[in-house]
């Protein structure tokens, strides 16, 4: 079996959940090799091994740690070549897709983004994607020697398969071309204390119906341990930061449960959430299209309904 390279997201807070999902998928395809940028924090190598990484490669060039895609693509291309990798897996994020596109050019590899499933086929890997705002699924087969695939978070349940990984520090050579973009200033996005939007098992989103007051949405989300999202209408009104926008021009989520509060459910919004396992809608307008796709619809004011449920959940917990 060939090597399957997984670009790991790992930092002080450990290994990201989507990375563990990638390792789980990688085991179906070959020998998982995790690539970590920077010196791995305590416990990172152990966690990667617990989920089946047979090798952990660490690369610590400063340009890689700045986070821009071009140097990462060049480094991965070298490592994929060294290891004769048949597949490179990355988590579907905007930056990782940038890396993946560059890598596909460098390796002349088959490129699939936003896959929801990856498995071995006769000629190469076979992937599934959901396209057109989740209204179609496409199954595609790679005919190239190498495939670069970005996988959506929550596509698979991460499963442990402990091994003792071989840890190796690797040197990569970065060209002037891939380091031509200079970072002048970097401001990390503020931590909210809530789960990452695209990784969360439950997402609670607020829209126009919040009237700009997200307190009920946030309190309800916190009672469920959920992430908070927002519709484009809410973001455009300046009520919630753009980083939390769900929909065609924002983030795409597929959690176990999606709660749309005060969101009518325009196609642009559905594009970002309709592959969610279950959907609950709370909206004052009984004609809101979101009710056509909700497993449970509550026609009512979110400012009344959500706080009442939040309280009931807290009471139940004691």
């Amino acid at each position: 079996m060939g090597s399957v390279i997984v670009l790991a997201e790992a930092g002080e807070q450990g290994v990201s959940k989507p990375t563990l999902e990638l390792l789980t998928l990688a085991r179906r395809l070959g020998e998982p090799v995790a690539v970590v940028v920077g010196e791995p924090a305590g416990g990172v190598v152990e966690t990667l091994g617990r989920y089946g990484a047979t090798a952990v490669l660490t690369a610590a060039e400063p340009a890689l740690q700045e986070g821009l895609p071009a140097p990462r693509a060049e480094a991965l291309a070298q490592l994929a070549g060294d290891r004769q990798a048949s597949v490179v897996l990355l988590t579907s994020t905007p930056d990782a897709k940038d890396v993946a596109g560059r890598l596909a050019v460098r390796l002349t590899a088959a490129l699939v983004t936003d896959a929801t499933d990856v498995r071995s086929g006769e000629g190469g890997v076979v992937t599934r994607q959901s396209v057109f705002a989740g209204s179609w699924t496409v199954e595609a087969a790679s005919t190239a020697d190498v495939a670069v695939v970005t996988v959506k978070p929550n596509s698979v349940e991460a499963e442990e398969a402990p091994v003792e990984p071989a840890v190796e520090t690797v040197q990569v050579t970065l060209s002037e071309t891939s380091t031509a973009v200079r970072v002048l200033e970097s401001s990390p996005k503020a931590a909210t204390g809530r789960p990452e939007l695209t990784e969360a098992a439950i997402v609670v989103s607020g829209g126009r119906g919040t009237g700009g007051d997200f307190a009920a949405v946030e309190a309800f989300a916190d009672a469920l341990g959920a992430a908070v999202g927002a519709s484009r209408a809410a973001v455009d009104s300046g009520w919630y930061p753009h980083a939390y926008q769900i929909g065609q021009t924002g983030k795409t989520v597929s959690p176990q449960l999606y709660v749309a509060a005060g969101i009518s459910g325009a196609i642009q919004h559905r594009a970002g959430m309709q592959t969610s396992r279950a959907v609950v809608a709370v909206n004052k307008d009984p004609e809101a299209p979101i009710f056509e796709m909700a497993d449970l619809g509550v026609v009512g004011d979110l400012h009344t309904v959500l706080p009442a449920v939040t309280e009931q959940l807290r009471d139940a917990r004691g």
């Binding site: 071009a70 596109g101 959901s130 179609w136 496409v138 002048l184 642009q268």
Partner: protein, 261 residues
């Protein structure tokens, strides 16, 4: 200075979208339009042109079948100076590698100082093309920018990365992709709509770009679509009209029964 802005003709996202029998996007049965996200790229090109002391030419570039010319037409109406339409039967069925090969060849021929794209198309939504073009051209790629500044030949943008917002800089020539936060696109005024009719649109084929037919299109694609299937539409479930706390009770019960708490 010359700016090339990439535009794409896509099926309207508010209509029914689907696939043809050969696994390519069905462009026959649906209305098309200029991809909404490309309007931000056209807008940004015009803003840079207006802010510049030099004369700046904005060329709208697209590839695709005959219909794709409509994307150029719209870009010209918004204010682009001229258009180039790469059109060749052998391009059909290209994957992202093939598409980026063709567009990179067209860009080289146009010799621009800057290439501006939207953050993704609204049909394929891969969002990989700007990065692939940067890689193919060997030019710095400044992607996902929401603030753009050009000072001489130094391009500085604020990009919205996964974990950080970064101010980054590079020298032209470069590839820039802009988000829908970069500034609202203008509407084409009647005067521009009339003026657009006189603007020049060139048609190029693979020969013009010095590309072989077998390097692109379905034949060269490294992924084969095996199956496309409409996802069964989500069904409406139970709807409860809230009265005296019945809505909250139903929601709490749903959460408990589904083991979400």
């Amino acid at each position: 200075m010359r700016i090339v802005t990439l535009v794409k003709y896509v099926p309207d996202a508010t209509g029914e979208r689907g696939f043809s029998e050969d696994g390519t996007v069905d462009r026959e049965g649906t209305d098309g339009r200029l991809s909404e996200l490309d309007e931000y790229a056209v807008e940004q090109s015009l803003r840079l042109a207006e802010a510049s002391d030099d004369e700046v030419e904005v060329v709208a570039l697209t590839m695709g079948p005959d219909d794709a010319a409509d994307a150029i037409k719209k870009a010209l109406q918004i204010g682009a100076s001229s258009g180039v339409h790469v059109c060749d039967d052998d391009i059909a069925g290209s994957d992202a590698l093939g598409t980026s090969l063709v567009l990179a060849a067209a860009i080289r021929k146009l010799e621009p100082d800057l290439v501006i794209t939207g953050m993704a198309s609204t049909d394929g939504v891969m969002g990989v093309l700007p990065a692939m073009l940067s890689e193919r051209l060997g030019w710095p790629g400044l992607t996902l920018a929401h603030t753009v500044e050009l000072d001489g030949r130094t391009l500085t943008v604020v990009r919205d990365g996964d974990t950080a917002s970064q101010r980054v800089q590079a020298e032209l020539p470069a590839v820039l992709s802009v988000t829908d936060q970069s500034g609202e696109p203008r509407y084409p005024g009647l005067k521009n709509v009339m003026a657009a009719k006189k603007k020049k649109v060139e048609e190029w084929d693979l020969d013009d770009l010095g590309l072989e037919a077998d390097a692109v299109g379905a034949a060269a694609a490294l992924t084969t679509v095996r199956e496309t299937a409409p996802r069964p539409p989500r069904q409406a479930g139970r709807v409860v009209t809230d009265s005296d706390g019945s809505g909250a009770a139903a929601l709490t019960e749903f959460l408990t029964a589904g083991k979400y708490v």
